[in-house]
């Protein structure tokens, strides 16, 4: 079982990653953030609670803790700067 992670904007550079496939035993967005923050200081800093703008699960913006089903696409979005 796996999920696909997409990183955007400055996160691509900070984390040195734009897309990855992650083994997934089930869980929520909180589970995922714990996994990612556990990868080291840069990940913990970049994805600190005050810094993450939004998570998007299967193209739906989620607020609070949300389930991530097997095979999901999860977008990790820094603060937007568009227009």
């Amino acid at each position: 079982m796996s999920i696909t992670l997409l990183y955007f904007g400055v996160l691509k550079d900070t984390l040195g990653c734009s897309t990855e496939t992650l083994a997934w035993d089930g869980g929520t967005t909180a589970t995922l953030l714990d996994v990612l923050r556990g990868r080291g200081e840069e990940w913990a800093l970049a994805l600190a609670p005050g810094k993450v703008f939004r998570l998007v699960v299967n193209q739906q913006i989620v607020r609070g803790d949300a389930a991530i089903p097997d095979g999901a696409e999860v977008g990790i979005l820094p603060p937007v700067t568009g227009g």
Partner: protein, 153 residues
Amino acid sequence: MYCDITVQTAAFDLGAEELALRAHAGDAGALVAFQGMVRAHDEATPLAALFLEHYPGVTEAEIRRIAEQAAARWPVSACRVIHRVGALAPGEPIVLVLIAAGHRAGAFAAAEYLMDYLKTQAPFWKREDFVDGSSRWVEAKASDDAACGRWHD
């Protein structure tokens, strides 16, 4: 309300979009267009290019949601949004918002609302590539958050 949202790398043509939108606008008496261009001199070092990325699918859906909010608030007949992504040189148009409405007050208000919202909430990310070879991702501006905030009172 007719509503057409596109995110694209290609340039767009304001005149052609205006004619196309009017075909969907019925007896609208007012049309407001906003076009944003890449500014070369916002920073001390001149800009070589602005690089934009978006979240395909999600960005378009968010813009549509915002446009529908505007249409719920003001009597809008038709709406067209084009946002460019990729590398854009200074002076190049980057965003186009076109609103057709019965009267001018609603057309202005909806266009301004949509622009304020696009600048603060739509999933776009900008990187500034400077003429000296340096580059940096733009941080969210407090002033844009403030401009958007006034609609939430």
